[in-house]
């Protein structure tokens, strides 16, 4: 039996049934990671020793009946912007390259309570700013399906780790598409829940009003199970919401009879790759055959989402990242004269170019005399976008479209043109602006064998509707998780050619 081929829930069951020990599962994942890391670089920190110690402890708990959940003993990976007490937490930035938090993020604690064995911390775009995982201080992560390509970002490390079977599932964070877009590029399932569903306590903030932690998994069932484990009402996060129903796995039902699905015409316009459009349209037909009512409609305002998003997110980021100043923790420049010189040098040396670009952009839009013209206007656009979705959800249960306009671009082709890179977020960011849940699921591949993702968007608190639709699609296509075909034997072949 190949342990690595199992989904998280399948593995959890076999651990429970004593077919596989927690240690065997952890060792299998670590062995795979050690073999793949030189090519992929999914992890900033792979914590072999810690993971094996957790595995022993978790096995004991399972044996004594203290841990009985469906994910107990299953190894997981955590994006490196979530704090784990005593463990390096870098946000893939030089400025936090020596930072060890004094507390653990609520979502990670929830996962630990569910019995997770944490393998390590995954690579990301620096402070989650980027769409390719190329802005990391620790070097880019590569797409397991073709290592000449990026995995997407900013949760590229988490998505690559799951796609490459280095981990059975992972946590990511999504501010403008950072879970859904790399999930699409890596052929895995990723969800951004409704804003307020998963506590942000211990998530190092990028855009506080948009950030949300979510699961990255091999299939839809795992996705629902992991969300069920991490979602909670947390008094430590004032934006956390007490949900009435956390039983997301109850929605894993193979039935979309009568489900109303709308496809925004605006999502199929200029810039959308033909192969992506074909794959997504095909997937919509599958749902239609299963009984859903699918039609096209005009969502509107789509082109305003990107400028509004980059204004709001950059404004919040410019403030959120002020605390990294070399005074209290993290990197401090070795040579300086006086306080202000220390600030300047530390931040100039500690942050990469994309982070600096967004800090400057954010500082500008908040500065006196420009606040009304940029920041306030962006907030108004945000409110209008929310209204456009409200209108759409009067007619539809689910909005369907691509997760990204293209499949994964080649490494080194994106950062030189940031505006073009930002445009790649067009289908995902309005979901963050409106606080809605969105899921990306794999629906095929392009001619180069790179995965295509379909995004399903629901109204606030309607994760279960999304899980039902995604699960039905999965059943209809008999498509359980599909790993990279060449992976493990001729891994990295294309990159070397």
């Amino acid at each position: 039996m190949d342990i690595l081929k199992l989904t998280a829930l399948e593995l959890g069951k076999k651990i429970k049934d004593k077919e596989i020990s927690v240690r065997e599962a952890a060792e299998a994942a670590i062995e795979r990671a050690k073999a793949a890391e030189p090519e992929l670089n999914s992890f900033v920190t792979l914590d072999e020793e810690g993971a094996l110690a957790q595995a022993e402890e978790m096995q004991r708990k399972i044996d004594q009946g203290e841990a009985a959940g469906p994910l107990a003993g299953v190894p997981a990976a955590i994006k490196d912007n979530m704090c784990i007490r005593g463990q390096l937490t870098t946000c893939s930035s030089k400025i936090l390259s020596n930072f060890r938090p004094t507390f653990t993020a609520e979502a990670v604690e929830n996962l630990q309570r569910a019995g997770a064995v944490i393998l390590g911390k995954t690579n990301m775009d620096e402070f989650a700013m980027g769409s390719t995982t190329e802005t990391s201080w620790y070097g880019p992560t590569r797409n397991p399906h073709n290592t000449a390509h990026v995995p997407g970002g900013s949760s590229g490390g988490s998505c690559a780790a799951v796609a490459a079977e280095e981990s059975f599932y992972a946590l990511g964070s999504d501010t403008g598409g950072s879970i859904r877009q790399p999930s699409s590029f890596c052929g895995v399932v990723g969800m951004k829940p409704t804003y307020g569903t998963v506590s942000r306590y211990g998530l190092i903030a990028y855009g506080s009003s948009l950030d949300q932690i979510g699961p990255i998994t091999k299939d839809v069932s795992d996705c629902a199970a992991v969300l069920e484990a991490i979602a909670s009402h947390d008094a430590k996060d004032s934006t956390s919401i007490a949900r009435e129903d956390y039983r997301f796995t109850d929605a894993l039902v193979n039935d979309v009879q009568g489900l109303r699905i709308g496809i925004p015409r605006d999502y199929l316009g200029d810039g959308l790759d033909g192969e992506v459009q074909a794959a997504v349209t095909e997937a919509a037909k599958v749902l239609e055959k299963c009984g859903a009512k699918v039609e096209m409609f005009d969502l509107g305002l789509v082109k305003y989402a990107i400028p509004a998003y980059y204004t709001i997110a950059a404004a919040e980021a410019s403030s959120n990242l002020e605390r990294f100043d070399g005074v209290k923790y993290g990197y401090r420049t070795p040579d300086y004269e006086g306080l202000h010189d220390m600030y300047k040098r530390t931040r100039s040396e500690g942050f990469g170019p994309e982070v600096k670009r967004r800090i400057m952009l954010g500082s500008f839009v908040l500065s006196s005399g420009y606040y009304d013209a940029y920041y306030l206007k962006a907030l108004r656009v945000k409110a209008l976008i929310k209204q456009a979705f409200d209108r759409a959800f009067e007619k539809y249960d689910v909005i369907l479209g691509p997760a990204a306009p293209t499949t994964a671009p080649e490494l080194g082709k994106s950062l030189s043109d940031p505006i073009k890179m930002y445009l790649g977020d067009i289908y995902t960011i309005s979901v963050n602006l409106a606080g809605l849940p969105g899921i990306s699921i794999p629906v095929g591949r392009d001619g180069k064998g790179l995965p295509v993702g379909m995004q399903l968007i629901g109204n606030v608190f309607q994760e279960k509707t999304l899980f039902r639709a995604a699960y039905t699609y999965e059943c209809a296509t008999e498509k359980q998780y599909e790993g990279p075909a060449e992976f493990g034997r001729e891994f990295g072949k294309e990159a070397r050619q």
Binding site: R200, A205, S318
Partner: protein, 477 residues
Amino acid sequence: MAKQYETVIGLEVHIELATKTKIFCGCSTEFGGAPNSHTCPVCTGMPGSLPVLNKQVVEYAMAIGLATNCKITQVCKFDRKNYFYPDNPQNYQISQLYLPIARDGYVEIETGNGKKKVRIHEMHMEEDAGKLIHDEWDDTSLVDYNRSGVPLVEIVSEPDMRTADEVIAYLEKLRMIVQYLGASDCKLQEGSMRADVNLSVREVGSETFGTRTEMKNLNSFKAIAHAIEGERQRQIELLEEGKEVIQETRRWDDNKEHSYAMRSKEDAQDYRYFPEPDLVPIVISDEWIARVKAAQPELRSEKLERYKKEFDIPEYDAEIITESKKTADLFEAAAAACGKPKKVANWIMVEVFRLMKETGTEPEDLTFSPENLAKLIDLVDAGTINGTVAKKVFEKIFTDNVDPEKYVEEQGLKTVSDEGALKEVVEQVIAANPKAVEDYKGGKEKALGALMGQTMRAMKGKADPGVVNQMLRDMLK
């Protein structure tokens, strides 16, 4: 003829609220403590930490807003004020700019020139910063975040004051209101009340304001009065010399009685305020306002009215006693314990204030219990001790809060009113003072006083003066 100038003053007053825990975390606000012992990830700005608003802060701020006739902003929000300084662990302060909790209020003040309203522009809630400690030997700076996150309100007045007297009257009024509400102890020296003075001068009759300066670091009423006078003179001199006043922030040095420029408007920072995304808007319902109003303790003006009606004490006494909530509380408790409000008022007006003045004690620092004062009054009324002894006993109550019943017993201070015990002493005094006896019998009433004094002295003050007086008269008939 020399030009006449008018001073225009507005104040920004920071008041530290008396909550047990900080504004955005559960850490203690207690003063003192080893550096960084009252801290957590939130008030030290650790990555990933998030603020959670302390509801008591909102209630105190609402209470102050209501007591100063402000309108409460029923949907109010926090904003971030961004600036880099190591005492501010996040490099932004969570404050309120766009929707402060209260606006458009006023307080009424009274000075030698009569009554006047000072309008309040707005009041907002915010967090305090930490404290930097510079080690000169080591050439390093250390930071203590114990104060970081202690809740403050800032009350911004309109430029309605014209003299130092009005400024002091305004501050005293604010302090009294806030102390009455129990929202802060308002100690200037300890920094739980701080005032920044915005001051400009203009020619009398001018419609427009002059250029103002802002003065910081004013730690006492005396410093505020001196700083206002100094800054007024400085600005008038500039204008007389044909120079301009520069809009700037100045720091007052009370030792040198001089202010110097800290920063001018040109280097004023752009704080890049924007709504704090980590906190949700505070929605204040009519019911909540009603609850805070209902829970509001009696303020001074109400107390004053009640005292006049309920206790039948002179208006002047009532005013003095209610000037501080502490003395008012002492008065009420002692009056309740002995049922003699007029006598309690007398004791407070005379002995308490005398001893406070002699020892330099502020009302807030009074430590004696009202029950002991009440017992003392009962002892005098029962004739157990006389007035002279009572004053001595009260000094012990004032300093050590002794129980007067026990103290009188232990020290043997009871008045001797038993005629048998007194008779011998009185006879001795009469025998030893033939001249005084002669004079009294000759019609000099004054001479009786001398004999009284002799007797009291011989009794070490413990005799009942009424009884002694009567005995002397009887025996000299």
